[in-house]
């Protein structure tokens, strides 16, 4: 099944030049793509279109088979719940505990508190944060915040996971651990797009790429791993 389909998308902010030009791409269910390109190339803008934070200036976006242009506004939240997002700066809510941050998508989906407690506790244990459920995000390390953000993005088992440079503020070891977590999710059926600058990770994990440059997009195959370039992570992935 086609998860995301973009046809001749153009995007400009205000009266400026187009950030994205004639972008067309199709993502099938279960795919894992890296979104690469230089800073300012439009990676975040492309992701914003996919998580429905932005409307294109022109062109068509189809998400899970729904044409966004013709979908009524009150049906968009239900579509957004099918999309998990790991924001570049995580965007955790600092006045809420780790537990409540992860529970947010379930609460907005009106899930019973009993079920929320069960699922959030399980997921926080899976990402190794069982002992930090009451902690405020500001008291957590960068890696821990990253995992909270990931847990929040996947708690509702979204069909599409968009990660906007989630490894930008963490060291390589944590970045690799995150990638392993994403791969596990991908094996469970979640379609994943991860924007990154980290060429090492792109080479090491070998997933196909969506390359964006000058507002144009090209779907490309995986980069070949560089000899001895892999980042080794020892121990259990948590």
């Amino acid at each position: 099944m086609t998860i995301v389909k973009l046809e001749n998308i153009g995007l400009r902010y205000g009266v400026g030049a187009e950030v994205l030009r004639d972008v067309s791409l199709t993502l099938e269910e279960g795919a894992f793509h890296f979104l690469t390109g230089p800073s300012g190339a439009g990676k975040s803008s492309l992701l914003k279109l996919m998580y429905l934070a932005q409307r294109p200036t022109r062109g068509l976006i189809s998400l899970f088979g729904h044409d966004i242009a013709t979908t009524s506004r009150d049906k968009l939240p239900a579509l957004r719940r099918e999309v998990g997002v790991v924001f570049q700066e995580f965007r955790l809510l600092d006045h809420l505990s780790t537990f409540d941050n992860v529970a947010l998508p379930m609460r907005v989906a009106d899930v019973r508190e009993k079920d929320i407690k069960k699922h959030v506790t399980e997921l926080l244990a899976w990402v190794g944060l069982k002992d930090h459920m009451s902690a405020r995000p500001s008291t957590l390390s960068g890696g821990q915040q990253q995992r909270v953000a990931l847990a929040r993005a996947v708690i509702t088992r979204p069909r599409l996971l968009l990660a906007d440079e989630p490894t930008g503020n963490v060291d390589d070891k944590l970045a690799v651990r995150l990638l392993h977590l994403l791969e596990e999710l991908n094996k469970l059926g979640t379609t994943i797009i991860m924007a990154t600058h980290n060429e090492g990770l792109v080479r090491q994990f070998g997933h196909p790429r969506i390359c964006i440059e000058g507002g144009h997009v090209e779907q490309m195959g995986p980069l070949r791993p560089a000899r001895g370039g892999a980042i080794r992570v020892e121990g259990k992935i948590t």
Binding site: Y51, L52, A53, Q54, R55, R73, D74, L76, P77, A78, L79, R80, R81, V85, R91, L93, H95, L96, D100, L104, P105, R107, V108, A109, R152, T156
Partner: protein
Amino acid sequence: MSMFSLRHHSDLPLDKDPGTRFLPWLIAFMVYLAALSIVATSLMQSLSARWERGVSDTLTVQIPAAASVNKDQTQIEEALKILRAHPAVVLAEPISRSHVLKLLEPWLGSGETLGDLPLPHLIDVSLRRSIEFKAQNVRDKLHIIAPGATIDDHRIWLDRLVRMSHTLQAGAYIVLALICFASIGTIIFVTRTGLAIHQDVIEVLHLIGAQDSYIARQFGEHALYLGLRGGFLGLAAAGPTFGLFAYLYRQVDSSLLPQIDITPLQWIIVMSLPILSAFMGYITARSAVMRTLARMV
């Protein structure tokens, strides 16, 4: 000083907003003024009801004292005939001289010499509302049998009083409406401030799939709690004011002022002001947020 201590689940830290501190006090003041306005309105209603009864019912005919007692008696009987023949007159009865003297006692004293004064004869006339009473026509007829006879038509000055009372009532309603508008404006301002302060949080909630109503409900519930607290505070302050007002009212001559009749409906409205203010807060905040969020993608 923060009055807000009641905790309720919210994804938005609205409790810490600057507006949270002053809004309950402001609502308390508004509820206090609203309660006073309602009581003032009921006072005006009581006054005008009493005056309106006077307006519609009665007038007094004055027959000047004649040269002899016999002539006096004849004039009064003729006047009574004229009055009782009018279809609008329900009752026309002469007021006894002793009663007239008693009425004049506060001004003229109670000396025996008063009995010698040539006092005019008074006839108390009760009218029925349904039939028009043209005072001038009756006055002309009375002049034929008793030159100088006058009709004190209470309706003229009582009508002015009633109009004044109605104007004051309308003023009280306008004050109530202004209080409502001011409260709504303040709640909208506080809500918009909250929206601006928590823009990031709202955006995150929006992007993870929160319906507008989910976010608006949190603002609405917050305004509801603030409105409820402010409302009860205002009502608590209005209680002693009513007590003081009632005490001062009792000190005034009861013949000048009527008993205030606060109807059960007015009592219900006064007692439910905190709930009304809370409900108004909920609706106002919720709709303000819904309108703002509708502009988001």
